[in-house]
Amino acid sequence: MNRLWWALGALVALLVLNVVVTPSFFSIRMQDGHLYGSVIDILKNGAPTLLIALGMTLVIATRGIDLSVGAVVAIAAAVTCEYIATSSDPGSASTALVGMAISLGLCLVLGLWNGFLVAVLRIQPIVATLVLMTAGRGIAMLVTDGQIITVNNETYRSVGAGFVLLPLAILISVAVLALVAVATRKTALGLLIEAVGVNPEASRLAGVQSRTIIWTVYVFAALCAGVAGLMISSNVSAADANNAGLWIEMDAILAVVIGGTSLAGGRYSLTGTLLGALVIQTLTTTVYTAGIAPEITLVFKAVVVVVVILFQSPKVQALFRRRPKRPVAEVLKPQEVAS
């Protein structure tokens, strides 16, 4: 709970900073039945990160990590665009739907592969997913033949750029968030994931099917990455195997960590991850709106992240707890020191 407050605090601080720099920051206007505004932009641009971070949260809760999500984004984008572009009817809705279905099916297989390496072969997660992280972009390049594939399909475009009052991307990511929350808290999945993450051996001896659980979370993470990939590529109606989802795994891991879920596994917080993803996206937006020089953009981001994580560390928190107990009145006055 404590950690959630820090993430929330960081978010509020960033929002306040934005209001100071741009007083119209919170204003939202209606245009052609669509809502526009900075806040909406943040939510929309943060949607892919949030999606991937949700999958990452469950993976991290089982003591794992998934570095391959960025590569999966690229593959999902490449496969869908390639299918649409090479089909006989590249503009129709059904083509787009079939393309997306094939793409997500492939992501499921990729998730099964990651889960197989980790849960069955017991390869360390960071190594196991590094395989696909490296190979995945190669696969995406093969699919697109090294070209940036552009498509012109209204149905596909709506996934990332469409509106139903709000941008569709926001609605999709919120729907997935709700789905995960229900799936983990209304079934026993959340309890079993946490048990495996806190103490795998005790869980095994209590009869928890840790293999199935671990396998499931990697498949889910890959599916989330797949949907994020569709969003990212449909937003620009193109698949760029080199740059789609580049470094997004790092943003997702950061979002999870800022949200207070420990990389050591165990207890996780979906709310925390939501806050974490918002902090990261707001940060990116702030960098642009506050006119911070592009050369120091990454440094600025890094400073904010370091501060948030420092405040979450138990040692720093202990410092804060101890301080008020010190008798403030007993501090020596300057003249006493001098004499």
């Binding site: 079934t187 026993a188 079993l192 048990a195 806190v198 005790a202 869980s203 095994r204 001896l205 209590a206």
Partner: protein, 499 residues
């Protein structure tokens, strides 16, 4: 007699909530091999750590007659106290010579003199009578040789006190003989050797004197030649007055009951030799033996916590093939590990989650227990086992050891098991909780649940059990009915004493 090289007086070490050592005296003379004996939790390693400066004890430590107080193992080593631990902690990628003189290499013009290093190491190995090439890479040697190199390294610093903490646990008979030969060479040179081992045979072969600890207190200091094995075992295990004195030993008419579990030739290499065992419904079978006798290993095979590599299991009249705990659980077997923290508790989760974990796991994640069912179960068992505090949302790590153990027992009770395998369920918990758990075992048996019960305390095993199975050196050696502590002890000690 000569002066003791180490003289510890009134040593006490206290951890939060635990008195690990209370007023222990310990003496070590030059030129002797001294065995430190005691069961788990007796305080052996705490005493060693107090001597080597890892723990800060109260009391007096004299080294060669001078009072000392070490702040860390480095200081102890500088003063001539070297320790070799069970796991070899050397650098496998370096040569034997480099390992022996690591951090103390002879230098020439500020650089390490490789030739002198090898020469010094060779001299040392020769003095110990070891034919090891000092230029060879350490990792290429078997563990036993690495262990000897670790000892050579310890001896290289002009050590007067050499502490060997379970050096033989991973060695075979020939390697042990080699180790003992070197120990004798060093002893004859005047080195005082402190030796810890769980193998009675070895202790009797090598040691001159021994000190026995139990529950953090000194039991006594003996000459090995004057202490019979039986006396040693009884000194180690003690004869505490059990809190269950008033609960009469019940002998159920169990023989007419159906055999619930039958193990035939069940075994696992390196853990426990093949054994036969029958457990009837409503029967409590105790497993007795020293630490490392195979009692835990046997229990784990019955639950599938480890996989057996020989033999068969029959449960409830049907063959049971265990590939892991899940098959055992669905057949109706529950298991509490001796290592509560590593293999029982899911520390960060609440009492409620810990309590329902096994039941929920057996239902699978798609069929969650409703909040109401959970609350009812938790309420029922918290009251029944008197778990405190009775707040199900508390993380289980915040409970005392006894209450944690009760939650773990409840975790299995909610699955309605036919057989419960309890490995040291009463270890390290307070007297009140202990009595409650013993009583619970008796009640479960009366309801028809079969229980396999392990405890390091013989009094407890004998009182709780209908039948006692004795293990020694990883082998089942006896099965006793209506027995007493003396008889069990005689079988544990083995040799002539058992005849």
């Amino acid at each position: 007699m000569t002066e003791p090289v180490v003289d510890m007086r009134g040593i006490s070490v206290e951890f939060p909530g635990v008195k690990a050592l209370q007023g222990v005296d310990f003496r070590l003379f030059p030129g002797e091999v001294h065995a430190l004996m005691g069961e788990n939790g007796a305080g052996k390693s705490t005493l060693i750590k107090a001597l080597t400066g890892v723990h800060k004890p109260t009391g007096l430590i004299r080294l060669r007659g001078e009072e000392v107080s070490f702040h860390g193992p480095g200081q102890a080593q500088d003063a001539g106290i070297s320790t070799v631990y069970q796991e070899v902690n050397l650098c496998g990628n370096l040569t034997v010579a480099e390992n022996i003189l690591l951090g103390r290499e002879p230098r020439r013009f500020g650089r390490i003199d490789g030739r002198a290093t090898r020469r010094r190491a060779a001299e040392l190995l020769e003095r110990m009578g070891l034919a090891i090439d000092p230029g060879s890479v350490l990792a290429d040697h078997p563990i036993a040789v690495q262990q000897l190199v670790a000892i050579a390294r310890a001896v290289a610093v002009e050590c007067q006190v050499l502490i060997l903490d379970e050096p033989t646990s991973s060695l075979d008979a020939g390697e042990v003989a080699e180790l003992f030969r070197i120990m004798r060479v060093l002893r004859d040179e005047g080195v005082a050797i402190l030796f810890v081992s769980h193998f009675l045979e070895q202790v009797y072969e090598i040691s001159d004197r021994m000190t026995v600890l139990r529950n953090g207190r000194l039991v006594g200091e003996y000459r090995t030649a004057e202490l019979s094995r039986l006396d040693l075992v009884s000194a180690m295990l003690g004869r505490e007055l059990s809190v269950l004195e008033e609960l009469e030993q019940q002998t159920h008419p169990v023989d007419e009951r159906a055999v619930l579990l039958r193990a035939t030739g069940l075994g696992r290499k390196g853990a426990v030799e093949p054994f036969d065992l029958e457990v009837r419904a409503g029967e409590v079978v105790g497993l007795a033996g020293l630490l490392g006798s195979g009692r835990t290993e046997l229990a784990r095979l019955l639950f599938g916590a480890d996989k057996a590599d020989s033999g068969t299991l029959e449960f409830d009249g049907k063959p049971l093939h265990l590939r892991g705990p899940r098959q055992a659980i669905s057949a109706g077997i529950g298991f509490c590990s001796e290592d509560r923290k590593a293999e029982g508790l899911v520390a960060d989760l609440s009492v409620r989650d810990n309590l329902v974990l096994a039941l929920q796991a057996s239902r699978g994640w798609t069929r969650p227990l409703s909040k109401r069912t959970k609350d009812e179960l938790v309420e029922k068992y918290v009251a029944m086992l008197d778990i405190r505090p009775a707040t199900p949302d508390t993380p289980i790590r915040n409970l005392s050891g006894g209450n944690q153990q009760k939650v773990l027992l409840a975790r299995w009770l909610v699955t309605k098991p036919k057989l419960l395998v309890l490995d040291e369920p009463t270890r390290g918990i307070d007297v009140g909780a202990k009595a409650q758990i013993q009583k619970l075992v008796a009640e479960l048996a009366a309801e028809g649940v079969a229980v396999v019960f392990i405890s390091a305390e013989l009094e407890e095993v004998v009182r709780v059990s209908d039948r006692v199975v004795v293990l020694r050196d990883r082998r089942k050696v006896a099965e006793l009915r209506g027995t007493d502590v003396d008889e069990v002890m005689a079988h544990i000690a083995g040799g002539r004493a058992a005849a």
